[in-house]
Amino acid sequence: MSEPLLRIRNLRASVDGQEVLKGVDLAVTAGEVAAIMGPNGSGKSTLSNVLAGRDGYEVTDGEVRYDGRDLLDMEPEERAAAGVFMAFQYPVEIPGVVNATFTRTALNAQRQARGESAIDAIDFLKRARETLDRLEMDEAFLRRDVNAGFSGGEKKRNEIFQMALLEPRLAILDETDSGLDIDALRIVATGVNAMRDGRRALVVITHYQRLLEYVVPDSVHVLADGRIARSGDRELAHELERAGYAAFQPA
């Protein structure tokens, strides 16, 4: 089997001097959907933020290889251009900047970094409409300011919309299912499943196994107290649903 798209080895990271990740090992191959589950405070969000390169997370040991490159050595925007996407748990608002402008600027910044030509406004609009259609989202969405005044569900759908347009190779979904009603969850799942084409990898971070009913994972990993405590297939998710995380909580 070929080299995994993402390989994390003994990753240790601290926030405000407090060690949160205590030696994470994980490999995700192209085409794989890996679910990372765990109780609150286990380090799930820290892991996604470290992978995306957010400031304030200090990596103290270990390495992360992505597509043959040292991911931790790259700026956040370089990671994005290389195909790493993170769907935020709390997407921020950018008043005055409409979604269409934001997404097209992002797409073209990535394309430029990869040495590809820019997409003009007309082509972009065409792609955006097709994507919105697939996600059962209204076109008016494009003209609204980025996340400003959006409901929680709309914000999450906007993340999925951006993901679909940016076509990343590695998408990290940070608790995208939290706060979604069942309809929104179904639409988000549709968007995520559309990304499964055998070449991309998805890391789905979640507390509940609810989303995994719709996005069936190839592997499930339990993150507890800063380490991967157990790995298995989707049966593991069901087991966690029944038994909870008690077995993994520190005594």
């Binding site: 304030g56 956040p76 900047v97 997404t103």
Partner: protein
């Protein structure tokens, strides 16, 4: 290092890169250094002015003497006392005879300067639709004189007068005499008095009754000479039922000395007339230590003299070491409308104290004020605005919105609204916000692939959108880029 800190430092590093800081090597005709009646006479003689205007200037000069040591001190700006005797009040590129009759006679060195600045002076290029030229007539003012005005003939066909004010004094004295100083009197304030005494060139516009000016009019101001100030005077008259859109742009060389720019702009809108006045001000802002840069002390005022008239000011202020400027509207005519849309950036050690005055005199007058202040680096920014409703202004309404955006932690944003209502039925609303570009916003943009500069530029443009939308299409894109540059190099 936090992304925000990184951005702030990128901004600081890039801020030496003022792109218009070059000097044009050209012979200049200069007045002797200093300021006295002789200098006022010298300037008037240079321009071959009639006696009435010389007298008008001398009256202003005497008023200015009376105001000596009475510079406005209430603004939230700090700078050493200016020695008004240590400056030159007139500098002009040397020329033969009466000056260029057509563009072909303009000194090629000057044409190259404007080309470098991206200002279209060649009518044939504009007509041929050369990219970036736009449908614009331009008056180019270089130090104390106008060096070229384009499309005068085409405008004249519709009766629109667009020319240097010195030419208007000669060719249309009745109009100049009637309106000059009618909105900003000679003794209005310290800098207005100084300007009235020594003003050099500037633009004159007259749009006759019922005419909608077919193209954007614009003046491009360039300070080039060392040790001089620029004191232009602009007068725009929109006769009944007419419409005009006017834009001014400004740049200056990068120098260690401070140079004074004290302009006066007067607008008169008669019944049913509409004037839209836009400014993109990008004078040299000085360096990161506050050395050099233009002192931009400007008096701009419009009078909505007739019923149903409208005056709209839009300004994008990114340059100057110090800005002191309050484009105002006197709402005299019933149902007249005054608008003020402003974006001001203070980066490096720039200081800006800017805003507007809306004076409601007529019935059912309305005013809108939208101000977006951005502070970065060690910049200090103050919005200062007055809304006054006089006793006879039945049904007057005002809406004011002042938003401040802070980038970094050593800049300042201040809001000083004055509301003076003397009518019980007036409706006056004031909203204000202060926000920061958060690390979360920056990271969100970077995760999507934008570098920190693109991210800041995008967020700032979003913050300013309501104002940028007011600019004529040709200039909106330029202004957006300028904000970007002022935040790479001035937060842009």
């Amino acid at each position: 290092m936090s992304p925000l800190r990184e951005t702030v430092e990128t901004v600081e590093r890039a801020s030496g890169e003022y792109r218009y800081g070059f000097v044009t090597e050209i012979d200049e005709d200069r007045a002797p250094t200093g300021l006295n009646e002789e200098i006022v006479r010298f300037i008037s003689a240079k321009k071959d002015e009639p006696d009435w205007l010389l007298e008008w200037r001398l009256k202003a000069f005497r008023m200015w003497l009376g105001l000596e040591d009475r510079e406005p001190r209430w603004a939230n700006v700090h700078f050493p006392k200016i020695d008004f005797q240590d400056a030159c009040y007139y500098a002009a590129p040397k020329q033969e005879g009466d000056g260029p009759a057509s563009l072909d006679e303009v000194d090629p060195e000057l044409l190259r300067t404007y080309e470098k600045l991206g200002i279209p002076l060649k009518e044939q290029e504009v007509l041929a639709g050369v990219a970036g030229a736009g449908n614009v007539a331009v008056d180019a003012v270089f130090d104390s004189v106008s060096v070229a005005t384009t499309f005068q003939d085409k405008l004249a066909e519709m009766g629109v007068i667009f020319c240097p004010i010195s030419e208007a004094v000669r060719d249309h004295p009745e109009l100049v005499r009637k309106y000059l100083g009618s909105v900003v009197p000679q003794g209005d304030n310290f800098y207005a008095a100084l300007n009235s005494a020594v003003f050099s060139d500037g633009s004159f516009v007259y749009v006759p009754k019922g005419v909608h000016c077919p193209m954007e009019l614009s003046t491009y101001f360039r300070i080039n000479a060392r040790g001089t100030g620029q004191f232009e005077r602009t007068l725009i008259i929109a006769d009944e039922g007419s419409r005009v859109s006017y834009l001014e742009g400004c740049t200056a060389p990068q120098r260690d000395e401070n140079q004074l720019h004290a302009a006066v702009v007067e607008l008169v809108a008669l019944k049913d007339a509409e004037i839209k006045y836009s400014t993109v001000q990008n004078w040299y802002p000085g360096d990161a230590d506050g050395k050099g840069g233009i002192y931009n002390f400007v008096t701009k005022r419009g009078a909505c003299r007739g019923a149903d008239s409208k005056i709209s000011w839009t300004q994008v202020e990114t340059g100057s070491a110090i800005t002191w400027k309050y484009p105002s509207v006197l709402l005299q005519g019933d149902r007249s409308i005054g608008e003020f849309y402003s974006v001001a950036i203070s980066n490096l050690r720039q200081q800006a104290d800017t805003g507007t005055k809306m004076i409601h005199l007529g019935r059912d007058t309305r005013s809108t004020i939208i101000s977006k202040g951005i502070s970065a680096g060690r910049g200090q920014q103050t919005y200062r605005g007055l809304v006054r409703v006089q006793p006879k202004a039945d049904g007057a309404r005002n809406f004011t919105q002042c938003d401040s955006l802070l980038i970094g932690d050593v800049c300042g944003g201040h809001t000083v609204p004055y509301i003076d209502v003397r009518h019980p039925g007036a409706e006056v609303a004031h909203e204000a916000t202060t926000s920061r570009i958060s690390d979360a916003q920056l990271f969100y943009c970077r995760q999507r692939g934008l570098d920190p500069e693109e991210a800041v530029s995008l967020i700032v443009n979003g913050f300013c959108r309501e104002v940028l939308q007011q600019l004529p299409m040709e200039f909106a894109v330029e202004a957006q880029k300028l904000l970007g540059i002022s935040l790479e190099g001035a937060v842009g």
